[in-house]
Every structure is written in structure tokens, then in C-alpha cells.
């Protein structure tokens, strides 16, 4: 175990060093000059340009640069990394987003010419409260526009944003007389919605909190990737989805509120780099930013616990479910076999992320389940499929002969299965079982898609705050390695424990009086070997 950790640490250092080397290779004079010399929008025609998925900024400008290859990113800050590693030549972002990024990355340069102006609205969830909520939110926007408080909010959060001092000023007490409203926010999107000191903060958050306080609701915020906000509202899962760019197509399919703010859209290019930090200072600064500042380690701990919770619960339920399915099918019941065959086909046939989203937004939408519960359902189903296959293969490997022999002696079907077949099948499938557990843990990294704050999602959110990629990514990977090492260790012990061939001879003879030398000699021999070890 220690060895593994040492190797991992070495890996981190090498990779981190690499990142600094790449960042350092340019002269350090601070100018507003772009590194590659693009000055007009037309210069970007035919190049790779980044844009966030689902914001639709590219629609504003694509007629002028028709040959541009658009690259889509889930998290806005990942575009900085893509730009710096030359995956893209420029990216599109709202002016305010750029201001926040520029604060941490002064080497970024914005293009003078605007790509366009966007209106932002709130999508109202397609459920039985839709009409009422729409009229309330429009009424609220109109009122706050008229009394100037919306402008004040925009100035505070967007124009004068300071990551360290800007805080939610509104109350967190709600009468809740009209129930809860579920609000989908991006969550990793300064200054509109981001994670700070363990709760959500930003323009969208304060805006909605004020709305809820005034209209008698209790807000429940869900951090959802941008591309899932509108679909989630469309299924009625969320009552409000924030920060939706207004477009004709969107207005046809979804019910949008009146715009609640406007923003310029700009191209961001890479300027001349000017950071020059020593390697160890860099690491220390990264650790500080990622884990220490704002007590972010607590978020990592809670994310790790969520990942573990989903994994362990899914293992327990999946194992049980797979076992039950196998027991129903093992004697050839045609109906049970057909049902299991169809379910396995449906579940195994689609990418896990789709399975989760379908469960969350469609199948289990009617019963209000938390993202974690839905994740446990999804991964339990997935694990059950694997468990069923393992039992199937394992029991087939034991062969019909031993089953028949035990039945012929008078063992009942259940006795034969549990005493003869299963112990041997377990020997065959436990190693595969271990791999499935590890795979499961890694697969849980996608639960961020359904608004679960697991380890990967927490790392994304922190990354969105620190504007840094390498360190949080690798630190997260290490946490996964450690979890995997622990799980592997536990399963290894189980494997040894259930392997009948490794039992001690003395243990087999426990409770038996024997004076046969043939037997006693073998036990003594084993004892001796053990002592020699």
C-alpha cells in the first residue's frame, strides 16, 4: 500500500511539473497582445473555437465565420485549459465570465469586437405549477426592473464581483407556505452560481432566494450541467432552470420567462503568459487553493463519502437483486428468464450516463427521489446485471454432475445449491466481482449529471473556482486510487476467506477425536510448515 502511494505521489509531481513547464515557456512581458496575433473575428474562420455546451453563443456569430470548427465544453473554465494547451485558438464567453476568469488568469485577452449580445431568461418547469410560477417570476422580474433592485444585484454580483468578498446578502429563512421549488443552477459558473463555503452562492442564487422569500417558497438548489438544465425543466423535474440563453427554438419547446439580464458575448484569446512561480510554491499554492481555502477539503470529504455511499449501497442492493434474479431463473422458469433477459438487455445496452438520466428525468420523475437515491437505483440495476452474469457463469463452471450427485444422495434442491454449487461458483466469480466493484466506483463519477455532488463533481466545482486544472484533477484521481486500494484489499480478504482449499487441516478436523497416524501426521506437518514461515 505504501509503495503504491509513493508511486502515485511521484506521478503527481511529474505531471504538475510538466504543467508548469508548459505554462512557463513564453516571455514574461505583460502586454495585451495576443500570442497568435488574431485581431478580428474573421481571423478565426476555419480554426478550432470553444464554446460552452447549450449556451448557443455560436449561433450569434457562426454566419460570419462559417468554416469554424466549434468545440463544446461542459465547464467554462475547462476552455482556459484547452486554450493554453492549444486545443482551441479562442473561445466564446459572456463578458462577465471573462472578467472573473481574467482575475485569475491575467494572460487571457479578449477581442475588442463583440460577438453579440445575449438575453438570459429562466426556463419554467413543465409541471402543474408552470403557469402560476411563470406569471409570478415575470411579475417579479418586472417589479425588480422597475425599482432598480435587479440592476443593483447585477452590479454587485457581476460588475463588481470579488470572489473573496461577494456574499449572499438575503435571508435564508423562508415561510415556505407555498411549498418548495426546485431550482437548477450550473453550480460551477462564477459569478452566477458557484459553490462557496459549502453552499451555493452567486447572482442566480441570490436572485432566486429573494424571489422565494417574497412569494412564499422554499428554494432547493440542484447543481446540473448546463445541457441538462433545459431538459430537466422540460420533464418537470425542476421548477426553474437558470441562465437560459433566449433563442427562437428554445421559445418553441420550453416556457421561458422574460429576460432577467443581458450580457455581451466576447471571444477570448491567449495572450502572453506572465506567471513565474517556483515548482514547490506552485504545488503549495495549489494545495492551498484546492483544499484549504474556504475549507474545501470538507467538500472533498463529503464528495468522497457520497461516492462511497453510492458505491457501497449499489453493491449491496445489486448483489441481492442479481442473486434474487438468478434464483428465479436458475431452474429454467421461462417467464422469469425472459423478464431478466429483457431487463438485462435494456440496462446493459445503453451508456450508464443515459441510464441515470433516463431514470432521473423520466422513469423515477413521478416519485420525488434524490439524485443519490436514483444513482443507487441505477447502479444497483447495473451491478445486478453483472452479478446475474457472474452467478450464471460461475454455477455453469461447477457443472451439472455434482448437482446431480448431491440430488441423488437426497440433498434437496436448495441444499444442493447452497452447500455444493454456490461455494464453488463463488471461487470462480469472486475475482471478477472485485473488478466489477472497482468499475462501479469509477463509473459513479458520472452522477454529477443528475445533480449529485460526488467526488468528481466536487472536484469540478472546485476547479471552477480555482481556475486550475492539473492539480485538482490529479488529486481527485489519487483519492479514487486510495478508495480502490481499500476496496481491493477488502475483497481480497473475502476471497481468501471463502476459498475452501486454503482452510487449515486442523480447522477441518475441529471437534473430532482421532488417533489415526495418517491424519495426525498431516496436521503436524502443516503446523510445522506454518512455524517455519
Amino acid at each position: 500500500m505504501k509503495k503504491v502511494l509513493v508511486i502515485l505521489l511521484a506521478l503527481v509531481m511529474v505531471l504538475s511539473a510538466a504543467s508548469f513547464v508548459f505554462a512557463d515557456d513564453a516571455p514574461t512581458t505583460a502586454t495585451a497582445k495576443t500570442k497568435l496575433g488574431y485581431t478580428s473575428i474573421e481571423d478565426l474562420d476555419g480554426l478550432y473555437v470553444g464554446v460552452q455546451t447549450s449556451v448557443l453563443y455560436e449561433d450569434l456569430i457562426k454566419d460570419r465565420i462559417p468554416k469554424t470548427q466549434w468545440q463544446y465544453f461542459t465547464m467554462p473554465n475547462d476552455m482556459i485549459l484547452a486554450l493554453e494547451s492549444n486545443k482551441i485558438s479562442a473561445y466564446l464567453i459572456e463578458e462577465v465570465g471573462f472578467i472573473a476568469q481574467f482575475d485569475k488568469h491575467p494572460e487571457l485577452v479578449r477581442m475588442e469586437e463583440l460577438a453579440g449580445v445575449c438575453e438570459y431568461a429562466i426556463v419554467v418547469g413543465n409541471n402543474d405549477r408552470q403557469e402560476r410560477l411563470l406569471s409570478e417570476i415575470n411579475e417579479y422580474i418586472a417589479k425588480r426592473n422597475a425599482d432598480g433592485t435587479l440592476d443593483e444585484l447585477y452590479d454587485y454580483w457581476v460588475l463588481n464581483f470579488d470572489a473573496d468578498t461577494s456574499v449572499i446578502r438575503s435571508t435564508s429563512e423562508y415561510s415556505g407556505e407555498n411549498g418548495e421549488v426546485n431550482i437548477a443552477i450550473e453550480g460551477g459558473y462564477e459569478p452566477f452560481s458557484f459553490e462557496s463555503n459549502g453552499s451555493f452562492s452567486g447572482f442566480d442564487v441570490e436572485f432566486m432566494q429573494n424571489f422565494c422569500a417574497e412569494y412564499g417558497y422554499t428554494p432547493v438548489f440542484h447543481s446540473v450541467p448546463f445541457e441538462s438544465i433545459a431538459p430537466g425543466a422540460e420533464t418537470g423535474k425542476y421548477d426553474f432552470g437558470m441562465n437560459i440563453v433566449v433563442s427562437d427554438e428554445r421559445e418553441e419547446t420550453a416556457l421561458l420567462s422574460d429576460p432577467y439580464y443581458y450580457c455581451n458575448i466576447v471571444f477570448v484569446l491567449e495572450g502572453e503568459a506572465q506567471t513565474d512561480v517556483g515548482f514547490f510554491e506552485g504545488i503549495a499554492e495549489s494545495i492551498n487553493r484546492t483544499f484549504v481555502k474556504e475549507g474545501r477539503w470538507k467538500q472533498f470529504v463529503s464528495g468522497t463519502l457520497v461516492s462511497l455511499e453510492i458505491t457501497l449501497l449499489s453493491i449491496v442492493f445489486g448483489t441481492l437483486l442479481g442473486f434474487i434474479a438468478y434464483m428465479a431463473c436458475r431452474r429454467g422458469n421461462k417467464i422469469a428468464n425472459k423478464i431478466v433477459e429483457i431487463i438485462t438487455w435494456v440496462i446493459d445496452g445503453m451508456p450508464t450516463v443515459l441510464l441515470l438520466m433516463i431514470l432521473y428525468y423520466v422513469v423515477l420523475n413521478a416519485i420525488k427521489m434524490s439524485g443519490i437515491a436514483v444513482s443507487v437505483v441505477g447502479f444497483s440495476l447495473l451491478f445486478a446485471c453483472g452479478m446475474y452474469d457472474m452467478l450464471n457463469v460461475g454455477c455453469k463452471a461447477v457443472g451439472k454432475g455434482q448437482y446431480e450427485a448431491s440430488r441423488a444422495m437426497g440433498y434437496s434442491d436448495k441444499q444442493a445449491f447452497f452447500k455444493i454449487i454456490l461455494p464453488q461458483a463463488a471461487r470462480h466469480f469472486i475475482p471478477i466481482y472485485g473488478n466489477e466493484v472497482i468499475t462501479l466506483l469509477k463509473e459513479t463519477a458520472i452522477v454529477g449529471y443528475i445533480a449529485v455532488l460526488d467526488l468528481t463533481k466536487i472536484s469540478d466545482l472546485v476547479r471552477a473556482r480555482t481556475y486550475e486544472a492539473f492539480f485538482p484533477l490529479i488529486a481527485t484521481a489519487i483519492i479514487y486510487y486510495v478508495l480502490e486500494a481499500i476496496l481491493t484489499f477488502v475483497i481480497g480478504r473475502v476471497e481468501l476467506g471463502i476459498d475452501p482449499v486454503r482452510r487449515k487441516k486442523a480447522k477441518i478436523l475441529e471437534g473430532i477425536k482421532t488417533d489415526e497416524e495418517i491424519i495426525l501426521d498431516q496436521v503436524a506437518e502443516e503446523q510445522e510448515e506454518e512455524n517455519n514461515d
Binding site: 454432475g401 437426497g410 491424519i519
Partner: protein, 368 residues
């Protein structure tokens, strides 16, 4: 006592047992023989309901076990079964293979089960392997353990399903001697086997199963030494037959020679012996029978009895009688006069309506 009445077993594509009627008395050691695919194993597996009969009754000590009213697991505890592939439990030591079923099924204590197991392991000569796992043992050893495991349950009857056919020839002996020892103790046993000599030595009753019926049932002497029924005789003497019906003068000797050659190769009959037979047939038919008759109707058979090592040519024909010793072919005459050749020509009879003339020539072999 087990009584089997009108037992029938149908599978989807085959009916191995059509109508079996059989009484197994206490103390019977029954060898079941018969051609492959005649339901010998199926019969055993029906007796302990590993295969559920399609119809018919099996009555064990007055209790009908096929009517669904009895606890089949209880019935099975009284019937041991030894399989072709041993089927020892792979996750248990040899000792546990014998102990655990006693403890689980008969409720015996650990010490009692152990004492019984060790006792039986000494009996089958494998006490030293008590703490080994089945995979460490040879096939012969595994089968002896399987027999010990069955005996530990104190069954009223033991069913052996081809107990030696999955073994190397070198290991058949050790297993057979254990079974022979058991046979002497007066236990009721049924053995499906292909080893005729073994069956003859240990059984006190032999049942010949053919095409889903009990075709013959008797003592080993009756079945093996003096078989009266045609199929029994053919089976126990391992006869194999090549038969032709010739009805015109255009007999294709070349095709026959090919068939005979393949036949002889399969049965490892010496070339010289087969060419003698071919020579005799040619001389009889084309030089004599074809000449003295206007129309032809001859049936001839080539038979080889593996047990007696006799190659026989049987010819029966209509029309004029021909005395083989009247032939003027010297080579033919000399073959007939060899000491290893036997000729039977006197079985002509008037009452045989179809083929009044019969001739049988038997060729033996002696190493020069």
C-alpha cells in the same frame, strides 16, 4: 424389493425406455447390458427419479415413488448412485466428501461421520488421502472415494452408472475389485456396464436391454455362455454382419471386395483370411451356382464373432444343389481342406421354403 411396471421415458427427440417391466429382489446383483442408446443409464436414472418417467410405476418396498405423494429426497437417501464421472464435491476434502452428506442428510454427529468415513476409506484403501482434495486424485481413486461416499449413507441399493467407462484402462481394475468386494457382501446392486467379463464375474443376474424393452433376463451363464435369443447371442459374441442379396448374374465383385476390405480393417481381420473368403465366394457363385442355374436367388452373409475369432461365410440359395467338394478348382479345394477351415453343408432341409440350400464355411486363424 423394487418393482418396475410399464415404465416409459420419452425425451423430446428420443424414447429410450418404451415398456420396462422388472422386479429387483433384495440381494440381486444385476448387470444391465445392451447396445448403446438403449436406455440402460436412463433406466437407472428413472429408478431414483433423476429422470422423471413419462408413465409407469416404480414401487420401492411397497411405496409407489412415481405418484408424487412421497418425499423423493427420503427415497433417494436409501439409493446410492455411482456416476461415470465420479462427481465428487470439488470444494471439500475427501474426508468431508464422505462426512458432510452423512451429517446433512442423516443427522449424524461429526465424530460418528468421521469414524464411518475413515472406516470406509480404509476399506477402499485410500485412508492416506483423507485430507486431499478430489482434484489431487487419479480417476480410479476418485471413483473409489465416490463409492465410499455412497456406502457411508448405508443405502439399500446401489446404482452404478458405467462406473469404469471414464477411466484409463490401467485404473479399471482397482475400481472393479472394490465393486466385486461389495457384490460379495450381499448388497443389492445394479450395474450398467460395457465390460462383459466384469459383468459375468460379479453379477448373479443379467438383463439385456434392447430398443427400450427388457429383451432377455437370466443368469450370467444363460446370457453369456448359452444365449438362446438371436440378439443376445449376436450382442454377447459381438457379431458383426455383412449381408448381400444377389438376384441377377451381374454381381459387382469389386464393390463387394471394397466392403469386405473395410469390414476386415475395422475388425482387424487378417488380409489372408478375407482373401480366402473372397476366393471361396467367387468360386461358389460365378463358377458353379451361376453356371448350373437359369435364374439366381442367393443370399450370403459374412459374420465375424470377435469373442471366438471366427470369420464365417453363410450362403443360402434357391435352385440346383451344388456340392462344394465337386469343384474342380484346386485352390478352392485346398482352402476347404485346410485345418483352420470348417465347412457345414448338411443343413439343407426340405421345409425351408425359400432357400432350401444352405452352406456355412468358417475360417479360423492360426499364426504360422
Amino acid at each position: 424389493m423394487i418393482e418396475i411396471r410399464h415404465l416409459r421415458k420419452e425425451f423430446e427427440d428420443i424414447i429410450p425406455l418404451k415398456d420396462i417391466n422388472l422386479t429387483i429382489n433384495d440381494g440381486d446383483v444385476i448387470a444391465i447390458i445392451g447396445p448403446s442408446g438403449t436406455g440402460k443409464s436412463t433406466l437407472l436414472r428413472c429408478i431414483n427419479l433423476l429422470n422423471v418417467p413419462t408413465s409407469g410405476d416404480i414401487i420401492v418396498d411397497g411405496q409407489n415413488i412415481t405418484d408424487g405423494s412421497c418425499d423423493i429426497n427420503e427415497v433417494r437417501k436409501k439409493m446410492g448412485m455411482v456416476f461415470q464421472n465420479f462427481n465428487l464435491f470439488g470444494h471439500m476434502t475427501v474426508l468431508e466428501n464422505i462426512m458432510k452428506p452423512q451429517m446433512t442428510l442423516l443427522g449424524r454427529g461429526k465424530q460418528e461421520a468421521y469414524d464411518k468415513a475413515m472406516d470406509l476409506l480404509y476399506t477402499v484403501g485410500l485412508a492416506a488421502k483423507a485430507l486431499n482434495y478430489p482434484e489431487d486424485l487419479s480417476g480410479g481413486q476418485q471413483q473409489r472415494i465416490a463409492i465410499a461416499r455412497t456406502l457411508a449413507m448405508d443405502p439399500d441399493i446401489i446404482l452404478f452408472d458405467e462406473p469404469t467407462s471414464a477411466l484409463d484402462p490401467s485404473m479399471i481394475g482397482e475400481v472393479q475389485s472394490v465393486i466385486r468386494m461389495l457384490a460379495k457382501t450381499g448388497r443389492t446392486m445394479m450395474i450398467v456396464t460395457h465390460e462383459m467379463d466384469f459383468a459375468k464375474k460379479i453379477a448373479n443376474r443379467v438383463i439385456f436391454l434392447n430398443d427400450g424393452y427388457v429383451y432377455d433376463d437370466g443368469t450370467p451363464k444363460e446370457i453369456f455362455d448359452h444365449p438362446t435369443k438371436a440378439l443376445t447371442r449376436k450382442f454377447v459374441q459381438r457379431l458383426t454382419v455383412l449381408e448381400y442379396h444377389v438376384q441377377d448374374f451381374e454381381f459387382d465383385y469389386e464393390a463387394f471386395a471394397d466392403d469386405l476390405q473395410q469390414y476386415a480393417e475395422k475388425l482387424l481381420i487378417e488380409n489372408e483370411r478375407t482373401s480366402k473368403l473372397k476366393m471361396c465366394l467367387e468360386e461358389l457363385m460365378s463358377n458353379n451356382l451361376f453356371v448350373i442355374n437359369d435364374s439366381i436367388d442367393i443370399v450370403f452373409k459374412v459374420e465375424y464373432a470377435e469373442k471366438k475369432d471366427e470369420l464365417t461365410l453363410m450362403v443360402k440359395y434357391k435352385g440346383e444343389y451344388f456340392n462344394p467338394f465337386d469343384s474342380d478348382n484346386e485352390l478352392f479345394n485346398s482352402i476347404l481342406n485346410e485345418p483352420t477351415t470348417k465347412i457345414e453343408d448338411e443343413i439343407r432341409s426340405e421345409d425351408e421354403k425359400f432357400y432350401p440350400n444352405k452352406l456355412r464355411i468358417t475360417f479360423k486363424w492360426e499364426e504360422a
